[in-house]
């Protein structure tokens, strides 16, 4: 680590400070295949210029058998874009846009744990690029909605065809989205929130 002095650290810009009343934060994760628009979506709704956090993962952490001694481990750095939305004076929402190498996402300790839910962005030109991540969310029981980014040359499948191809149950919302537009990204997040709310209603009724 080449940390020299705290004087070299650039902190939040003037307008990027949270108020002292900020009490708690929630997070939503945006996932999807390479180049599908995750960073674009984070940036279009974030109140701060999107930032990047990183995590160092060792070989032992990425599916290779345990080895002993730090010198034999190879470290991999995984970066993650994120943005922020102050919802109220007390409550802050963070959006994490996962990077392209999906085998790492689920090993990032504490990324999906505690997340309210996930938005899966899919590019209909490469639908299968989203299959694995949807499966992993299902395995972990992370609630999610699917948003198809409408690239100009992308095939426009009817929602029923998409639902059948993605093998998604009726209740999971599938929406169209243009991640470059703030309103469209916001609507996609609202779709996720309404879905989570309906799940909460169902679980309290039963």
């Amino acid at each position: 680590m080449d940390f020299k002095s705290s004087d070299t650290v650039t902190g939040p810009r003037a307008g990027d400070h949270l108020p002292h009343t900020a009490q708690a934060a929630v997070k939503i994760v945006i996932v999807g295949g390479f180049g599908v628009g995750k960073t674009t979506m984070v940036g279009s709704v974030s109140e701060i210029r999107p930032l990047t956090t990183e995590e160092t993962m060792t070989q032992a952490g990425i599916g290779v058998d345990d080895d002993y001694g730090a010198e034999t481990k190879t470290a991999t750095t995984v970066a993650m874009d994120f943005g922020r939305i102050s919802l109220t004076d007390q409550l802050v929402l963070y959006l994490f846009g996962t990077p392209g190498q999906e085998r790492f996402w689920f090993l990032w300790n504490g990324l999906f744990e505690g997340a309210l839910g996930a938005v899966v962005l899919v590019d209909t030109r490469r639908l299968e690029a989203g299959f694995d991540v949807i499966g992993r969310l299902e395995e972990r029981g992370v609630p999610f909605v699917v948003a198809t980014n409408e690239f100009p040359d992308a095939p426009r499948y009817p929602v029923e065809d998409l639902r059948a191809a993605l093998d998604l149950p009726e209740e999971i919302p599938i929406v169209r989205c243009d991640a470059r537009r703030r309103a469209s990204s916001r609507d996609t997040l609202m779709t996720l929130m309404r879905f989570l709310h309906s799940l909460a209603m169902t679980s309290t009724r039963s």
């Binding site: 708690a24 929630v26 919802l87 309210l116 395995e139 059948a164 309404r194 709310h197």
Partner: protein
Amino acid sequence: MTPPQRRRRRPRERPPEPPAPPSPLAHPEGSEGEEGRDGPRNPERLYVLTGGGEDTDRAEVDLVTLVVARAAVPPPGIQPEQTALLRLCGTPLSVAEISAYLHLPFSVVTVLLTELLAAGLVRARAPIARQALPDRSLLEAVMHGLQKL
């Protein structure tokens, strides 16, 4: 034109999740005065105390745990990274933001934070986790906030 076909997966069997910490929104007074404690060596399993006294809840340091410095002036003898962290946290900042501004990995920041928490130099406000029964009022607060965007 037929799209490619996926096969649905089943949720894995998981051990029951530990009870989530109480929502600071529901108990705004209860979230102050958190202290660190000597944590286990594994930085992935760090805990911070979320209250004083006997019946304390423990919460892991999360990417969205909000951190605030308690002292305006960093005491002598701490690492330069920790001095920088204290300077950044004059106003609340998430662990993810600290990691981004310091250009340090998340797990390194959690180690720095554990020491600062133990020394009483910072306060951590625990994140609200997804719970077995999600808090409907929390979800509604998020929706309300998003609507204003």
